[in-house]
């Protein structure tokens, strides 16, 4: 689909043409899933985010500025849907048990011969995942956008609808928590 065709499809979708919206869904689904998976770290959650993001996008298409980039606009919706889903999961989880960060910090250290092998080790990655799960939804989203997606603080701020300072501090808090949670692994390394 070239740029002119894409613009025409988008214009039709904005007028409520569900066929045109279908073309957008078919075009963007895989990239939406990729981001959703990175944000949530879970395949089923990512599928839920994909679905919810497109439904939300369809509902809000009338408000989409045609001069903006649809991919960027959709990216923001996915990021926010991911945060919403993580928040609702966390709320349910918190009803059952308290903060899980301590569990992560207190995990026993394992033998880990070098940083490269460590990064590739499935066990280490499990611990990293557990540490990421212990972040607040906003911290995790901001960290994912910065660390995995390579987004600048300004872009994170725009994607999550935060002020620059709030976006920055979400990343800082995430990094602090991860440092604490993964310190036992680092001590093995040194």
């Amino acid at each position: 689909m070239d740029a002119t065709e894409a613009a025409a499809v988008l214009a039709r979708a904005r007028q409520g043409d569900s066929d045109a919206f279908r073309a957008l869904v078919e075009r963007h689904s895989r990239s939406v899933f990729r981001l959703a998976y990175r944000m949530t770290g879970n395949e089923q959650d990512a599928e839920d985010v994909v679905q919810e993001s497109f439904l939300r996008a369809f509902k809000q298409l009338g408000r989409f500025e045609s001069r903006a980039n649809f991919g960027t606009w959709l990216y923001r919706i996915v990021a926010n849907c991911s945060v919403d889903l993580m928040r609702s999961k966390q709320a349910r989880h918190d009803q059952v048990r308290g903060d899980s960060l301590d569990d992560v910090v207190e995990m026993p250290a394992v033998d880990a011969p070098g940083p490269e092998r460590m990064a590739q080790s499935a066990e280490i990655q499990q611990r990293v995942q557990a540490a990421l799960q212990a972040l607040s939804p906003l911290e995790r989203a901001a960290f994912t956008l910065r660390h995995y997606e390579g987004r600048s603080i300004d872009e994170i701020s725009a994607a999550l609808g935060l002020g620059t300072s709030a976006a920055k501090h979400s990343v800082f808090r995430a990094v602090k928590k991860l440092r604490i949670a993964l310190a036992p692994l680092r001590s093995q390394e040194s």
């Binding site: 904005r14 007028q15 409520g16 043409d17 569900s18 066929d19 919206f21 279908r22 869904v25 078919e26 075009r27 963007h28 689904s29 895989r30 899933f33 990729r34 998976y37 990175r38 770290g41 395949e43 994909v50 679905q51 497109f54 439904l55 369809f58 509902k59 809000q60 298409l61 009338g62 408000r63 940083p115 460590m118 990064a119 590739q120 280490i124 990655q125 990293v128 995942q129 990421l132 910065r146 660390h147 995995y148 600048s152 603080i153 920055k168 990343v171 800082f172 990094v175 602090k176 991860l178 440092r179 993964l182 310190a183 692994l185 680092r186 390394e189």
Partner: protein
């Protein structure tokens, strides 16, 4: 000596923040900041991007199938009041009406031209080269309108057929039926006009399409597996989806080609 905070060094790690050159010089000179930076960098280096499970080429279609029946009402925008005032079904009807209006303009133009040029009278267009050129351009434009309209119609029809081919074995196909019904009237008019224009291959595909649309419209809205299978078999037997796609592509190519197109017969009727 002023030391840098963990936050400064985190931004530095990610290539952001101001005073990057200052921080770099400081890290060369300050052991404690260098140690803190190594710790931050070491931790973040452990966090590799997770491997994202693969999704196939059909994933977009799967997502669409999951959401298409639950699309919400769109939020209104100021310039789209008319659209948002109409229900989804009404919009389809409106689209069909617009297609019919376009077709009526096309047919009306042809009739008007015939009436304006009485038989036996010398055509003005034949008298001057300029007028002849203008008439040719008008005909060419009219032909292009027909090609584009039919191609759009075929695209819409293809989507209905694809939905039917991918529908769950038992379920409600009333949405597809409403859609097919809207397309049916337009299809008949396009077919007649294709015949008049000498576009026999287009008329043949539209004829096949009409039969399948009729069958979809007249099926029960809650269709059983056997009924659905029968509709699908007929679509398959007529290689209808293939023909609709090929014809749509061909019409678009002809529309884009210089000097529009002359009738072609590349697809033969098979049923």
């Amino acid at each position: 000596m002023k030391h840098y905070t963990e936050d400064d060094l985190t931004l530095y790690y990610y290539g952001e923040g101001r005073r990057r050159a200052d921080i770099e010089r400081h890290l060369d000179a300050c052991g404690s900041c260098a140690s803190l930076y190594r710790e931050i960098a070491g931790t973040l280096a452990m966090i590799a991007a997770p491997e994202v499970p693969e999704r196939g080429d059909q994933y977009g279609l799967e997502v669409w199938q999951r959401i298409r029946h639950t699309l919400p009402e769109q939020d209104a925008s100021s310039w789209r009041t008319l659209w948002t005032a109409l229900s989804r079904g009404d919009r389809l009807g409106f689209a069909a009406a617009a297609a019919l209006l376009l077709l009526a303009a096309f047919v009306g133009g042809r009739i008007w031209q015939r009436q304006a040029t009485p038989q036996g009278a010398p055509q003005i267009a034949a008298d001057t080269g300029t007028s002849a050129g203008a008439a040719s351009v008008t005909n060419d434009m009219r032909q292009r309108i027909l090609l584009t309209s039919v191609a759009d119609h075929l695209d819409r029809s293809e989507r209905v057929l694809t939905d039917i081919m991918n529908a769950p074995d038992r379920g409600d196909i009333s949405t597809e039926q409403r859609w097919a019904e809207d397309l049916l009237d337009a299809s008949r008019l396009y077919r007649q006009d294709a015949v008049d224009a000498g576009e026999q291959s287009v008329a043949d595909v539209l004829d096949d399409l009409e039969r399948s649309l009729l069958e979809i419209v007249h099926s029960p809205s809650t269709v059983g597996a056997a009924d659905l299978e029968q509709i699908r078999r007929r679509i398959d037997a007529a290689t209808l989806l293939f023909k609709v796609r090929v014809m749509s592509d061909e019409l678009r190519k002809r529309d884009q080609a210089p000097g529009a197109a002359s009738p072609r017969t590349s697809i033969r009727k098979t049923s």
